[in-house]
Point group: D2
């Protein structure tokens, strides 16, 4: 790290900073400029508590990290891309993988119908929420275990692996029994207890970026799961919060190439939550594939206008089928398949 001292700092104070740097296990190098003195602290920063603490000193102006704070998630530590295998589906390989299904599981008939339709159109994994995090306490909160059972039934009939969200540590084991991929939602991106717990379960995790999560924090949240011994983390961009209100969130496709540069983990995009409007899902899905996403997660509902959650952003099965047909040439144009 680079420690920038305040103007007019004397030798005794520089020595004090260097002593602290040494005690924290780094080698200090002093560089005296005309206006500022800086101390470069040399040593491995990744995976260690940080020197930024020294900003508490009245002699220090600021402390600037040189290395990224995550380690296991880093492309520097592992150069080849991680492939996550879920039965016979390979995530992070040449094939762009599409997960699709209803926002909420509402009934057995609904989930079976959607599962059949999205499989027909080429989706490889079935999504569906049984535990729903809802902004309002008065909104539908999900069918809970009953919903998981419907998902399991849909998997049995279609052969599609299932991804579903887990909301709380108490239900991780129960959810893990029914699902193939555990999803951590945007609102739990810094629920560190939950991250550690899913890290211990030995099942792939779909980790959604929070609405105010920086790329660095996103990879540090992935690091919690990796550090718990689970290498199978799939990152998912799903929209950040900005001043713009024509979209529900601002789907940040820049995150795709940035994450691919910094990390070896597969990167997905959720254009349904990211935009909040069904008519924006198709263009943003194509944009996501073209800029390098390894997969998509898309909401499909037979009657969006009667959905118990997120109807306005759900595609009808026919529109989803059309999108899949349109996505294929885009995937091929960037050397992938669908």
């Amino acid at each position: 790290m680079i420690i920038i001292l305040k103007s007019g700092i004397g030798d005794a104070e520089i020595d004090d900073v260097c002593r602290r740097v040494t005690e924290m296990g780094y080698a200090p190098h002093i560089i005296r400029g005309e206006f500022k003195t800086i101390v470069a602290a040399v040593g491995e920063e990744r995976g260690r508590p940080d020197l930024r603490l020294l900003e508490a000193l009245e002699t220090v102006e600021s402390v600037i990290p040189v290395q990224q704070p995550f380690k296991l998630a880093s492309r520097e530590v592992r150069q080849e891309p991680t492939e996550v295998r879920v039965h016979d589906v390979v995530i992070g390989g040449k094939v762009v993988v599409v997960m699709a299904g209803p926002c909420s599981v509402e009934s057995e008939a609904q989930v079976l119908e959607v599962a059949g339709r999205v499989k027909e159109s080429g989706a490889k994994i079935l999504r569906g929420g049984a535990f729903k995090p809802r902004t309002s306490p008065y909104a539908f909160q999900g069918l809970k275990e009953q919903g998981l059972k419907y998902l399991a039934e849909a998997r049995k009939r279609t052969g599609l692996p299932v991804v579903t969200e887990v909301l709380e540590t108490e239900s991780v084991e129960m959810v893990a029994e029914y699902t193939d991929i555990l999803q951590i939602g945007a609102r739990n991106i810094q629920n560190f207890t939950l991250l550690r717990r899913v890290g211990e379960m030995g099942k792939p995790v779909l980790l959604k970026r929070g609405m105010a999560t920086s790329i660095q924090e996103f990879l540090l949240s992935a690091e919690y799961i990796l550090a718990a011994g689970n290498p199978d983390v799939i990152l998912c961009e799903r929209g950040i919060r900005t001043f713009e209100t024509t979209t529900r969130f601002t789907l940040d496709l820049n995150a795709v190439p940035v994450l691919k540069k910094l990390s070896h983990l597969p990167v997905f995009v959720d254009p349904s939550h990211g935009t909040g409007h069904w008519d924006l899902v198709a263009p943003m899905a194509k944009g996501a594939v073209a800029c390098g996403a390894d997969g998509l997660i898309i909401e499909v509902h037979p009657k969006p206008e009667e959905a118990l959650s997120d109807g306005p952003q759900s595609l009808k099965p026919a529109k989803f089928a059309q999108l899949m047909r349109e996505l294929r040439p885009v995937a091929e144009a960037v050397g992938r398949s669908l």
Copy 2:
């Protein structure tokens, strides 16, 4: 709610919208303009699932709520301000209440020293973290139950009630045994399971706004606690995420008068996390009191440069004492006391 239909929508489609509005329990009123037809759906919106679902219809351009979605937290439902009592401390009354203490509990000696010093300076409640949510898995995660014991010891010696953060549903009961106020941190503002659980504990809750939480979402999170039967919720602004980087977050003091207008709940401000720099704590604390905050929560550490968390934003006890002296006339200038 107001349902704005797309241009060129015919009578059959308007009837379809009205039928749906009626089925959802609202009375529809059609208003035909030259360019747009709108349907006003009359009825109580608060505490009910919402008509925005109709945005999923291809005939609907957008749906605009007329009422706020929260109910129990609303000033319309309860006009007089809520006062939360913690032993003999009244929160939300004429006195501006200051909570102070270390970010993390690090040792018994540390917490006892700080408790004594902040009491001397006029703090009414002791803060201290035993369970720490940390962005990096490699950072200090708190002393856990041992930390709670040190806090209890400090309370015994000083008589100061204690506020501490609870991170997960499994430890709510344990934390509640030791503390007087349960704190929900910014990262758990939409951990709805946790909100419901603290709502059931019968202890006051200090609820911190998340870094990307809108005022409306903030009050809906409070609504989860209130709806679980707990009326003693203290709202706390602690900085939102914006493009500005000279401060760690952007402490949003506007939230103080906005929350006081919309809700009857007491409103606190955390200038330590909100700014991230100890030298900004004093001016922003004064600003908070002047614009109407009912209290402050401030980090104090005897040696910030050796703190295990958030040293750069902690005040030394002497600086805290000075701040308390300077706050008193500000509180009086706005008709409060300290």
Copy 3:
């Protein structure tokens, strides 16, 4: 518009609101709910001063527009897409048009070299800045008229039409003499005097979204140009300011389908300024074309590490050539050509 009155408002006050609505040229309709009364003000809102003024009344809670405030830019007013013709280049048609060239014109040799190279690779229009808006007064401010002459020379030799930025009303005429398309930069998006002036020049205008400009404000800025009699406006997304710092700005590709939905004007994307890093330009350029952009504007410099402005986001000519080869199949995948 919809005027939501405060709770407990009596008949006399409702009448007062209705009277004001009528005086402002709208027809008021009163809808009395159980909890709120609203007044719907029926009439053309587009292109008229707005009723939101009534929010100044103590009886009014809020005023909500029903129609978009822009008119000439609106898809409702003109349904077929606008095509802007610049010599034999058609912007907004089937062909995705690429504008390329150096950020700043630095010398005749530089601009001639780049112009030749980007033409070879398939760019249809040459970009280059002669007047540079720079954050710091100490940075290179452009070659001014001399730079325009070099651009004109490059056009003569290559046949490529030229786009260049105009910074101030005084130089609009001079710049218009040399250029084929006038560019309004992000920092001038609400320089209304300048917008009107370029609106009067009869040359196509490339209008860049500002870093904090909402979609609605963006189209209102376009409206200034259109209202001055110039129909040839090309909208350009170039990144908005958010909390994320791994990219210089957050290129908002969502703006592409949103703008295409709301407006008939062609939509371009600038992945160079939008991301600020040359290695993100190619993926985001592909994403932009896949999600429906009508064109791209890309910075190309023979020696980015010696550029007088924005070197870090400039492509070398060979990388630009490769990008153009890779873009072609993406354009074809979405039914366009390049």
Copy 4:
């Protein structure tokens, strides 16, 4: 500056970077870490084009400035606070100075009435807009020179100096003839031609922060005026754009102590534009004074509900008088007077 090289960079490439650093006038110091090599470039950074250009090199990961890029605006260069004198009003001294008046000048009667009322209540400077930057081309654009004449008349009758906005370089001289302080509005914060022009006029400048302007960019815009020879710059925070929509902008009071720390220039706050709602003006005005603002600029209108611009955020004269009475003890509580 600190230049962080990519992993695995060899000696020849390090030498190349050092050679470039030397050519740009800095002294390079190489620091080899276990994982990263960094080059510290020693020398004055302020007021010079910047080394960040080197980020264009494929061998460089990032370049981090050590010094602030502004110079004349910097507290390091000038330690004592700048006082701006306007006739007998001292801005930036012990007295908190309040500027007040209508958003737009609408008629002679209106401006004379408001001028008299705000003077009576203790305002020291009269504000009023004659040239109005309006988001919509269909909105009232100001009375222009006629408005300036009314302001001059109001000054003659009340003795209050006048501040008014100048929108464009062509009218700077005309506006300067009538006004005592030239205001640069938020939308022109990076209209560098205009900044230079007002810098040459020899009149104090009230410079409003833009809605997406970082503190660093704000001070660089001030630097344009200072570098043109005009030392009398007053900074004004007026709200930034964030995700929060209950306020029109997010008034960033943190900017007050941050600017006072980095710069010697006086700092004002505009709670009218910053919040957009008249009932938030008083609490935020008090907050601003308590956290250290040198002054306020507040909109006052006799009939806000009929104002030609910004009615919803204007105070009636009686409410303004009350605010001034309430502000006095707040100013005194922080060692100032009003």
